[in-house]
């Protein structure tokens, strides 16, 4: 546990050692607020469905930016060789790094608290739905992070990590979209719908927390963290 805590602390601090964290959070809040309030007054409904509807798209670009540095830089600066010769297991390193990036994303997500406050002033939104949606957003964000983290461990170039991260999350997102399921063989449709990253968010976004959706996100996180450990260990059978 002390090892995970040490990695977590170091990685979490690392976000704030450079201006990236502040730029990231500002841009994230400005973009989501702008896109949301653009439509909010036209629809004229006191809820956040529009806001959470944006997140699967916004995360496509923002989450790989959060994770691109994490392994790529260790590989580039070669600190990986140091890190992996310290008495710490690969699992502990991966979990510590994942938790740090999760906490950072959570801060960005929770700073959008101004949105529900604004809506509450203007109307009478359903608080339960909004809280449920926030939980869903955190889960979905964590799944995106696990993917981005794994991609970062495949390269020593941050830009490459970012672009491949965007592509892979986009593919996993789009396969469950009606856009794809409409033209794919009917036998595959249930599978594709199940695998789609965004589909499980919709019901959560309506305020319904289904254990199947939670299980889905947790398995995506688990699967990609496992791949991450595997890719770190791959140095051993080169």
């Amino acid at each position: 546990m002390q090892n995970i805590a040490a990695i977590f602390k170091k990685e979490f601090k690392a976000y704030f050692l450079s201006p990236i964290a502040y730029v990231f959070i500002t841009v994230y809040l400005v973009v989501t607020n702008f896109l949301f309030f653009q439509g909010f007054f036209i629809i004229n409904q006191a809820d956040m469905r529009g806001y959470f509807g944006l997140l699967p798209w916004v995360f496509l670009f923002f989450v790989p930016a959060v994770t691109m540095r994490i392994w790529a830089e260790e590989k580039k600066v070669k600190t990986l060789e140091l890190l992996l010769t310290w008495p710490i297991s690969d699992l502990e390193v991966v979990v510590g790094k994942f938790l740090a990036s999760f906490c950072f994303l959570a801060i960005a997500i929770l700073l959008s608290i101004t949105v529900p406050i604004t809506i509450a002033i203007l109307g009478d939104p359903d608080g339960g739905v909004i809280i449920g949606s926030y939980i869903g957003a955190l889960l979905m964000g964590a799944a995106y992070l696990a993917i981005g983290l794994w991609v970062s461990s495949l390269t020593e170039n941050q830009i490459v990590a970012f672009i491949i991260g965007v592509v892979i999350t986009f593919v996993l997102f789009i396969i469950g979209n009606p856009f794809v399921t409409m033209v794919s063989p009917p036998a595959l449709v249930p599978l594709l719908t199940y695998l789609g990253l965004g589909n499980h968010f919709e019901s959560v976004g309506r305020g319904v927390i289904d254990s199947r959706d939670i299980l889905y996100y947790l398995s995506v996180i688990g699967f990609f963290l496992f791949l991450n450990i595997y890719s770190i260990e791959s140095r051993k059978w080169e």
């Binding site: 002390q2 090892n3 805590a5 040490a6 990695i7 602390k9 170091k10 601090k13 690392a14 050692l17 450079s18 600066v77 070669k78 600190t79 990986l80 060789e81 140091l82 992996l84 010769t85 310290w86 008495p87 710490i88 297991s89 140095r235 051993k236 080169e238």
Partner: protein, 317 residues
Amino acid sequence: MNGSSNGVMVEVQSLNKRFGDVHAVRDLSFKVNKGEVFGFLGPNGAGKSTTMRIITCYIPASSGTVRVGGLDNTVHSLEVRKKIGYLPENNPLYNDMLVDEYLTFVGEIRGLKNSALASRIDEMVQVCGLSKMVRRQIGKLSKGYRQRVGLAQAMLHNPDVVILDEPTSGLDPNQIIEIRQLIKRIGREKTVIYCSHILSEVSATCSRILIINNGTVVATGTAEELTSQMGSAGQYSLRISGEKTAIESRLRGVAGVATVSIAESSGQWHTVRVIADSKEDIGEALFRCVVDNKWSLAELRHERASLEEVFTQLTRG
């Protein structure tokens, strides 16, 4: 500490490492005793860093075993890593962090806590001469100070074995001397494996040296043993005043002399280089020859093969 026998700290046995077609380490075996500074010497690409990476559990060997303090490093990987302090080649560091933040982070991973951690950091900062730099960002330090941070990192948890992979590369001569003194100080209490391709470094700091080439051991011993083993035929340099042709022919007549050549002449004085045909000392015979011919002698020197020559002989071709 536990389980180590006969004072052997690191034991490498018939180690092999292949990267695809490249056979980087071939059947390498050696032992490092407790409390010695062991020089691991070889030209670039000889397999030094690969061997160190295997010992430190970064990559596994293709075959062969490594024991540190009696523990097999594939079976007891985490235990072995606790015993080792490692400064990898090119000294990678987290450039964003401050020096004390970094050392705290390393200490936490090393299992140090609170006051024990604080006192170890203080000690390392003192030993490595970092006291003025603790609140500086690592990325902004000079190369010499970065190296000290790397050394502090390697010794923070008071390890049994310290492995240093080219710790002085890229430093200026003053810094090299400082780091060398630091390593000598460490070597008084700890087992140190010191990798380098620079000979003067190794001969100045190490009690025993292993020379590796193309992944195999080509020689091992103390610096003196290596030079005497390899110091094949003796070479002598003389400064004699006399007649040039007479000097050449008479010296050639001395028993045991292979070649005589005049390297330099100024007026009556000639610098003569004599090479013996065996390891036998012919210094006295040369002196007698000079006296018998009534020449004046200003200098008679037996030139031993330097470690440098030994190294080139062993690692070339």
